[in-house]
């Protein structure tokens, strides 16, 4: 009789442990766009407990050559240590491959407030040659914008210009 509640209790404590770990790791800011967290971006995939009681955080790179990947892993490790988790491991998972669809609506809001146009909700066809996406100006809200460059300072962004208020701005590309 006593075994069942025990198991429940153990399960519950495991869950709260995982939740606490998630909260700590989720708050890690993206090194290049610190207004959004790695949870907002969908880079933090999961937090689990393995058989030895080790917290395993799974992160995924946005693209293969992302220079922030190492730093993000290190920051997650530090955040978990700081939250009191000692036995911690960070794993990189490649599959399924990250897409901008994983950016949360909260993340999109923060990007827009920071002046970066968030990706449009569904990926456009990449096979379309010379294809351009319609992007709304994060500064004045006008739809009258044009693309200056397919790449901005970081590979995940394109540079646009607003024809109404003339603001240059980054667009977080669909991917």
């Amino acid at each position: 009789m006593t075994r069942i509640p025990d198991k429940h209790a153990q399960h519950a404590s495991q869950q709260s442990l995982q939740q606490a770990a998630w909260a700590a790791a989720a708050a890690v800011p993206d090194p290049e766009i610190p207004v959004v967290t790695i949870a907002d971006l969908g880079i933090l995939r999961s937090i689990a407990l393995d058989e030895e009681g080790c917290i395993v955080a799974q992160v995924t790179p946005t693209y293969s050559g992302c220079p922030a990947t190492n730093l993000i892993q290190q920051m997650v490790l530090e955040a978990l240590h700081e939250a009191g988790f000692e036995n911690v491991r960070v794993e990189s998972v490649l599959s399924p491959a990250w897409t901008t669809d994983w950016i949360s609506s909260e993340g999109r809001k923060k990007l827009r407030q920071f002046g970066i146009a968030p990706p449009t909700e569904t990926s456009n066809s990449k096979r379309a040659l010379f294809g351009e996406t319609l992007v709304t100006c994060p500064h004045c809200g006008s739809g009258e914008t044009e693309r200056v460059s397919e790449f901005g300072s970081t590979p995940c962004k394109a540079l646009y210009r607003c024809l109404a208020c003339r603001e240059p701005f980054d667009y977080f590309k669909c991917h």
Binding site: G65, L71, S149, S153, T154, P168, D170
Partner: protein, 331 residues
């Protein structure tokens, strides 16, 4: 660094007193000036000069670091350096676009750079000789850039201020990576640590010069201050930079190459030795070891790429014509 862009700036302006007073009132009320707002010609010119020279600095700055991409010592460092240089190019592009909001075209600005009429930050006329220089540049040069840019985030011109807020975050990432290269060297072998010290020795003084000479009562600089394009004096920013960098050097176990560097308890900051302003002016005026090479490279790249740009334009024109005739045929 970008206040170097104000050297020789013509802040003169010809509007009537009422217009200038109304404009100044907006500035004093900390209202941002936007592209479609009326503004004094002197304000516009000063900004074009500063923003374009900032953009040129990003572009020329790709050369010393690009020089090490093929030789980076590990795959991780190679990827990070490649990404960093791409960032700098992106900053240049962003800033050219910000300057374009003031009615100047990228072509005009490029022309001014290639002809030597426009300047870029003096620091990029120093060569990146060893791998440790890539660390020192990230740590010190990006660090000095951040000192300038944090203040520029509050610049009175809206598009420039907002550009700075975003660019600043990326520069912080660069600085962090540069410092991390220095940490790896200083935790490494004796020869690695010597490389690090040597890089610091060569980049320390030029980094201090990035903030520009002491201004005294310079009129131009005052006008930029009144318009809140500039918000701190060159010396103030330089002091902030020194105060931030000295403890970082100590943490690395490196020695700042300035025997006069001393903590001043009264001002809660460091006093530093004499900066060689003759060297600064020599490099600004074109006699640094790399000045000619940096510009010649840009001119060569511009020449070599001309046929590609012409082809792209010709194709775009043909495409438009074909689409137009297809539409007519459809109607």
């Amino acid at each position: 660094m970008y206040s170097q862009g104000l050297i020789g700036a013509d802040g003169q302006t010809h509007e009537d007193a009422a217009f200038l007073a109304a404009f100044q009132a907006r500035i004093d009320a900390e209202q941002k000036i936007e592209p479609n707002d009326p503004m004094p010609e002197g304000y516009r010119k000063t900004l074009v000069r500063q923003i374009s020279q900032h953009a040129h600095s990003e572009i020329i700055g790709m050369q010393p670091e690009g020089n090490w991409i093929s030789r980076a010592p590990s795959l991780r460092r190679k990827a990070a350096l490649l990404a960093k240089v791409q960032d700098e190019g992106g900053h240049g592009l962003y800033l050219y676009s910000a300057a374009e909001t003031l009615g100047v075209s990228r072509e005009e600005m490029t022309e001014q750079l290639l002809s030597g009429a426009a300047k870029y930050s003096s620091i990029f006329n120093y060569p990146a000789l060893t791998w440790a220089d890539i660390g020192a540049i990230g740590w010190l040069v990006d660090g000095a850039a951040i000192m300038n840019q944090i203040v520029l985030c509050r610049c009175s011109y809206g598009p420039y201020a907002r550009a700075m807020i975003r660019i600043c975050k990326e520069e912080s990432f660069h600085q962090r990576q540069g410092y991390e290269i220095m940490i790896a060297l200083c935790n490494g072998s004796k020869e690695q640590k010597e490389l690090a010290q040597d890089a610091l020795n060569r980049f320390w003084w030029p980094s201090l010069m990035m903030f520009g000479p002491p201004e005294g009562d310079s009129v131009h600089s005052n006008q930029s201050m009144i318009w809140k394009i500039k918000r701190f004096s060159n010396d103030d920013l330089r002091d902030k930079f020194i105060n931030a960098s000295v403890p970082q050097a100590e943490k690395l176990g490196l020695t700042i190459p300035d025997s006069d560097l001393k903590w001043n308890e009264a001002k809660q900051g460091y006093d530093h030795g004499e900066i060689d302003w003759d060297e600064f002016w020599r490099v600004v005026k074109g006699d640094g070891i790399c000045n000619r090479e940096r510009l010649k490279n840009r001119r060569r790249v511009d020449r070599d790429g001309a046929w590609v740009r012409e082809a792209a334009m010709a194709h775009a024109q043909k495409r438009r014509a074909r689409m137009a005739s297809a539409r007519i045929a459809a109607e």
